[in-house]
């Protein structure tokens, strides 16, 4: 082989090598960007999962579906802090928000531990559903277990608040069973996963009755019929609530 041919071959190999190296570098760069974009998408999906169940998010991503609804029987839990408005007027705003966030954190945990889905916080109120997302033949018992867990978690939290010289919290919880529609509800700009139906209103009204009967948890007869009879319950007088024709049969959970 002539020296010129050898040199030309060497140069060709070098050029190919340089091109290959650049191509490899660019490919790695693109892969890194792709990974970063995918990671961003994952983070976005995680953030979304706080607003709607995983199945709903997947459906939106895969099918672009945003208008869907499904009729379901659901257990509704409505919780509200008793006398919090007055309390809030006596606390520094930052302290108030801290106390409230600590409360929401613990209550959400108690609800999630029992397969409930926290739909929304309304002021100092919590609206949660059982059976709205996954199929769950034990959703009635789960809702009662969750209410009991919330009671226990609040007792713990109150001990913590007392140690910090902060006021005690009192909660009223209303539980009801009924059918309604679950789906993504809202405007083009703002949608939320929600349960729509009279059941929510009734649960909220039942929650109001906790003040009248000086108890912390009340469930309706409709729900009681489906839950474990070994839960400690006692009947309260049938009571009329706004929006319901007949007086409601209700029970306190001891």
């Amino acid at each position: 082989m002539s020296p010129w041919l050898g040199a030309a071959l060497g140069a060709a190999i070098l050029i190919i090598g340089v091109f290959a190296w650049r191509a490899e570098r660019e490919s790695k760069l693109l892969l890194r960007r792709l990974k970063a974009a995918a990671s961003e998408l994952e983070n976005l999906q995680m953030a979304f999962s706080r607003f709607a169940p995983d199945e709903v998010i997947e459906r939106i991503i895969a099918e672009g579906v945003t208008d869907f609804g499904e009729k379901k029987e659901v257990m509704v839990l409505f919780a509200d802090l008793v006398g919090f408005t007055a309390l809030s007027e006596n606390l520094e705003p930052r302290v108030l928000v801290g106390v409230l966030n600590g409360y929401f954190e613990r209550m959400s945990q108690a609800i999630g531990d029992h397969r409930g889905y926290v739909s929304t916080f309304i002021g100092d109120g919590i609206l949660a559903f059982f059976g709205a997302t996954d199929p769950n033949p034990w959703q009635g018992d789960d809702s009662v277990h969750a209410a009991l867990a919330m009671r226990a978690a609040l007792a713990d939290y109150n001990r913590e608040l007392a140690s910090r010289d902060l006021p005690q919290l009192l909660v009223g919880i209303g539980l009801h069973r009924g059918t309604g529609v679950v789906g993504l509800v809202g405007s083009q700009r703002l949608k939320e996963f929600a349960f729509v139906g009279r059941t929510v209103n009734v649960a909220a009204r039942v929650q109001d009755l906790t003040r009248q009967f000086a108890v912390d948890i009340i469930l309706t007869e409709t729900l009681k019929q489906t839950v474990d009879p070994s839960f400690p319950m006692r009947a309260l007088p049938d009571t009329s609530v706004k929006g319901v024709e007949k007086p409601l049969a209700i029970h306190a959970l001891d």
Partner: protein, 363 residues
Amino acid sequence: MASMSQIEWEPCLLTQHPAPELERRFARETGRPGQLMRFFEGSPWTADTMLRVSVQIMTFVRIDPNLVDQVGLVVSQDNSCRFCFGMQRAFLRVLGTSEKRIARLEQDLLTGDFNPRERAALDFARRVSQSKPLTSASDLVPLREVGFSEEEIVELAGLIGMHLFLNRMSTFVALPPQRMEDFPDHWWMRIIRPLIAVKFRRMRHRSKPVALLDSEKTGPMSAFVNALDGLPMARDLRLMIDRLWGSSSLPPRTVSLLFAVVARALDSTRCQQEAKQMLLEQNFAEADIDQVLTHLSSPILSEIEALLIPLARETVWYQPAQIQRRCAELQSQLPHEQFLDFLGAVSLLNSLCRLGVIVGMRA
């Protein structure tokens, strides 16, 4: 869809104990390091079941092994099993699947561009894995439309079931995922990858159809086992199920109760009926069965059953860290063998109850 890097995972619940014979058998039959067996030493049934299932996910009769490997990755991701995902990912990398391809499976599953057979198989795998609700005949239509034969569909479903078992078992005891997640990216791994690939390919083998013996066609859950007749996994499943119901650590009525609870959670009429029949034969009154299944509690339950029954329903759909914490609580209340056998039992029952659709195909 779970983002694997962000899934909360508790420390492993099990300590490793040398199990030379099991380790050798595992390495011989799967081509993978046998150390995994060290976690399951102390429970002969669970260790044997882990081993048999690990072999079966590498045994193929008609289906394309490459497709099933991808299905394994997707199912592991769907179940948020970091251990299995890491293992499956490493396996695919060693066998030559590009990082780009794996990234597509991992991150772009819902909208990614897959060929029609892959898309149908991956979608079906996720449907079986999630089972909200259980798969039905209509879920088989997309598979048939892209040319899957009836035998291929049954085999695919069976293999998905095997992966589901491994996902659950590995998640419940929180097998450490870190080693598997880092494994394929080591520099030395890149050098020896071709050698390991040769070994893996040899272990991942084609098998001839294997028919069940007449004596193997009866017993608990025989409809499921018989639906898989012709596949080697059917004979192994028969053995695993028979040994489960003959377990020394879990009485048959406890296993039947677990079966009934998992079936009820998944709303499987077929499984609920079979479980109920088993319980009636074990002198359970119908009202007691209804009480247990309606409220997951009853005065008739033994102390151990009262612990296991509520947890059995938690194993149907779960968040890894949450179920791992629940399993850790249980671990402190049970003897080691019973603890592992319970987790193995619910893992197996969850897998089988999700396969009702193939029973319908063979009926």
